[in-house]
């Protein structure tokens, strides 16, 4: 005998699915690493210590790689086709910023590091204009 209870037991699970449930994104993450690159280049240039200069280069390359990683995550996971409609140059912007991060990784050029910051700020503008701060950060951080 079938009971009401057994009939109301779900036959299957349906997924209100999200690939990345956390959904937290902020270009700030890339910017902080890019700022590190800039400051490390300045410290490198100001030092005579060979060992310190070698460490600077090593750490800067790591940080520049992180910039590329954070840019990739934003590009692939945060930005959606509807954003591309709003910003047709979105792919171009990310491509150039990633290339710029490579340039910073390879060189000790202060100007290149500053250009990278400016490019990240352009992406930051897109993120903000598409509601990023409200949708992809947790509110309540003390100012």
């Amino acid at each position: 005998m079938l009971t009401i209870r057994s009939l109301l037991r779900p036959s299957r699970i349906v997924d209100a699915h999200c690939d990345i449930p956390c959904g937290i994104y902020d270009p700030e993450q890339a910017r902080i690493e890019a700022e590190s690159c800039l400051r490390i280049i300045e410290k490198h240039d100001a030092s005579e210590d060979k060992l310190f200069r070698a460490r600077c280069i090593h750490v800067k390359e790591e940080r520049a790689e992180l910039v590329k990683h954070h840019l990739d995550v934003l590009w692939h996971d945060y930005f959606k086709p509807e954003h591309l409609e709003k910003y047709p140059d979105l792919h171009e912007t990310f491509w150039k910023a990633s290339k710029q991060a490579s340039k910073v990784k390879q060189s000790l050029d202060v100007a290149a590091a500053k250009d990278l910051l400016a490019m990240i700020d352009t992406i930051d503008g897109m993120w903000k204009a598409t509601g990023g701060p409200e949708k992809t950060r947790v509110s309540g951080r003390p100012s």
Binding site: L7, L8, P10, V14, D15, H17, D19
Partner: protein
């Protein structure tokens, strides 16, 4: 928009559900929601009545909550809302009600109408949020 009242009270609705489901789970079925991409309309653990009769007669309409296999992983059955329907292409754009926490047609593209059979119509669990599912634009 005119609302069709199918049955009088919750009791008759439950009885109708039970009768319908006992006939077979081909037209009427009950499912449980997992994941949060339909929040705040649907929350994880919500239990819904779904029916497959309507779409034998007509196309899904924007605003309706539907089930569809994930085009990237067909064994996963998704629940999303119809954002728009392209009759020429015979496909529907699906969206989660929580766009920032949803993987949907923005990611995997429009879903063929031939893949959409089930419509979610009624939540029966939890009881305090039981009721007909609203069709949002």
């Amino acid at each position: 928009m005119a609302r069709r009242r199918v049955l009088g009270g919750p009791f008759f609705l439950m009885l109708g559900m039970a009768a319908g489901i006992s006939v077979g789970r081909r037209w009427l079925d009950v499912v449980e929601v997992r994941g949060g991409s339909m929040a705040p309309s649907l929350l994880p653990g919500d239990r819904l009545l779904v029916e497959s009769h309507t779409y034998q007669g007509r196309q899904p309409r924007p605003g309706e909550v539907v089930l569809a296999a994930d085009p990237r992983e067909p064994e996963r059955e998704l629940i999303k809302r119809v954002a728009s329907v392209d009759s020429t292409a015979a496909a529907a754009e699906l969206r989660g009600d929580a766009p920032a926490a949803s993987t949907d047609s923005r990611e995997f593209g429009a879903v063929p109408l031939s893949e959409i059979h089930w419509r979610a119509v009624f939540r029966y669990w939890p009881p305090q949020r039981a009721g007909r599912l609203a069709e949002l634009d």
